[in-house]
Structure formats: C-alpha cells, structure tokens
C-alpha cells in the first residue's frame, strides 16, 4: 500500500468518535495492570477510542485456557501476554505508543513505573493484588483515578453490574461479589472490562 494511502487510512480511524474526544485522548496515557480478561479487553476499547499512550503490565504467558475470555488467539499461546497484546493493539492503531512491563508487579513498582500515567485500569485476578494496587496507587497518585474490576464471574445477571465511585479517585466496576471460583464467561467479563474502559474515557475527556 502506498504511504499516502496508509496515512489517510489511519487518520480516518477516529472519524466516528464522539466529537471533541479524539485530540484529547490522543495525548493521554493509561496504565493497565494485568492483561487477562479485563485488561486485554479494556486495552482494546481504549485504543479503539483513541487513547494514544498505554503502559501494559503482566508477567504471564498466554495459555489455551485464557482464550475463552481474553483477547488472544491460538497463535499467541506461549507468548508473553504483553507482547501479544501489544502486537494486536498496534494492528488497531499503528501510531499507538505502548510500553510493556513484563514482570510481576509489587507495591514498590507503582510510583516508578506509572509516573506518566493519567489513570490506572486495575485488571488483576487475585483479590489481594487488587487490594494492594488500590492502596499503592492512591498513595502514589492521590489525584489520578484508579478504575477497578470487582465481581465479574458467572453468566447472566447483567443488571447487578454497576460502576461505583468509592472515593474521589477510586471506582469499582462489577457486581462486587461474584468470585472466579464459579467460572468465567467472556461476555460478562467483557461487559465489566468495557465498563472500566468507558469510565476511563469519560474521566479522561472531562479533565
């Protein structure tokens, strides 16, 4: 494809965006902690909306059992999740600036790794990890939002899913109680992930 055609094609990526949002989102940086069902799905929604910079973090590799709800393909099995997701996101928007963090995060990493992030999408699977991330983020960046996934397992019960503003900059998306021990379904996980992304986009364009 000729260079001019590529440029024209990419420039029109966001033609159907809500007016006034594209230029704002292009300058924003969003951190995504965890690239599983929530993180991979939210990241795709954010990039499609026009967020220009992402920092994605995960220590894990893609397994076959992930494919029922996470945004990977059979050819990704065995790849680092950050590398696979980064490649998929760049196919959506080749101009995306993305930083991959391939490590198991701990509380001491937050200030150092996410200094440039305007907002955090919490997408861990373990409750204790969600807990420390919220604590570490609110201590490091009290004026920046953290949007958490909490209660996304099972099927149906869409009416129990909601966004709760917990404190000035802490939001929870989900039903607040369903635990992954009952099983995870792509549709319900994706609803919660997109609630996180939608909340993030809304906050970013307001600022």
């Amino acid at each position: 494809m000729a260079r001019k055609q590529v440029f024209t094609k990419h420039r029109s990526l966001f033609d159907r965006n809500v007016p006034g949002t594209t230029a704002v989102l292009a300058k924003k940086t969003v951190a995504v902690a965890g690239c599983g069902g929530l993180g991979s799905t939210a990241a795709i929604a954010l990039v499609r909306a026009g967020v220009g910079h992402l920092i994605i973090a995960d220590f894990d590799r893609v397994e076959a059992s992930n494919l029922n709800r996470q945004q990977y393909f059979t050819g990704d099995i065995g790849r680092k999740k950050t590398a696979a997701l980064s490649a998929h996101l760049k196919k959506i928007n080749p101009s995306l600036k993305i930083v991959c963090v391939d490590k198991m995060l701990g509380p001491k990493d937050i200030q150092k790794l996410f200094t440039k992030a305007d907002l955090m999408i919490e997408a861990f699977d373990r409750a204790e990890s969600k807990q420390w991330l919220i604590e570490a983020w609110t201590q490091a960046f009290p004026d920046r939002p953290v949007i958490c996934g909490n209660g996304l397992a099972g099927i149906g019960n869409t009416e129990t899913l909601r966004v709760v503003k917990f404190s000035d900059n802490v939001y929870f998306c989900g039903d607040g109680k369903s635990d992954m021990s009952i099983g995870l379904c792509s549709a319900r996980v994706a609803i919660v992930a997109n609630m996180q992304a939608n909340t993030a986009i809304s906050l970013l364009v307001q600022k």
Partner: protein
C-alpha cells in the same frame, strides 16, 4: 455516631476502623476501606482511630480479572 456504608453505628472513644468493621458485620478476607474519602492501607485498618462523625466506606473485593 459514625456511618459504615450508610449504616449508622454508635461511636465510642478509642473506636478503630477494625471495631467499626466488626460492628457492621463486614469482616471479609479482602476489602478496601476509606475514611472520609481517603483509602486506608490494609495493615493500618485494625488500629486506625475513628473520630465521631466519620464516614467509613468499605468495598469487599472478589477474585477475578
């Protein structure tokens, strides 16, 4: 009087956030707690003193992501 997730609970001198959780029946392995909008680190909840009129918010955390 304090509130825990909008539930009114009697306050007493020396009352801590840990006491408030037990009185509200909200003991749970994983939760996030804020007092007047500020998140309290988990390892400080048990001993964090509450003032009369405090607004305590608690979110129970489920596994899954």
């Amino acid at each position: 009087m304090i509130s825990v997730n909008d539930q009114k609970i009697g306050w007493h001198p020396g009352m801590t956030a840990g006491d408030a959780l037990r009185e509200a029946g909200l003991e749970f392995p994983h939760l996030v707690l804020s007092i007047d909008g500020a998140v309290v680190p988990n390892n400080e909840i048990e001993d964090r003193a509450l003032e009369d009129g405090a607004s305590v918010n608690v979110m129970l955390i489920a596994h899954g992501g």
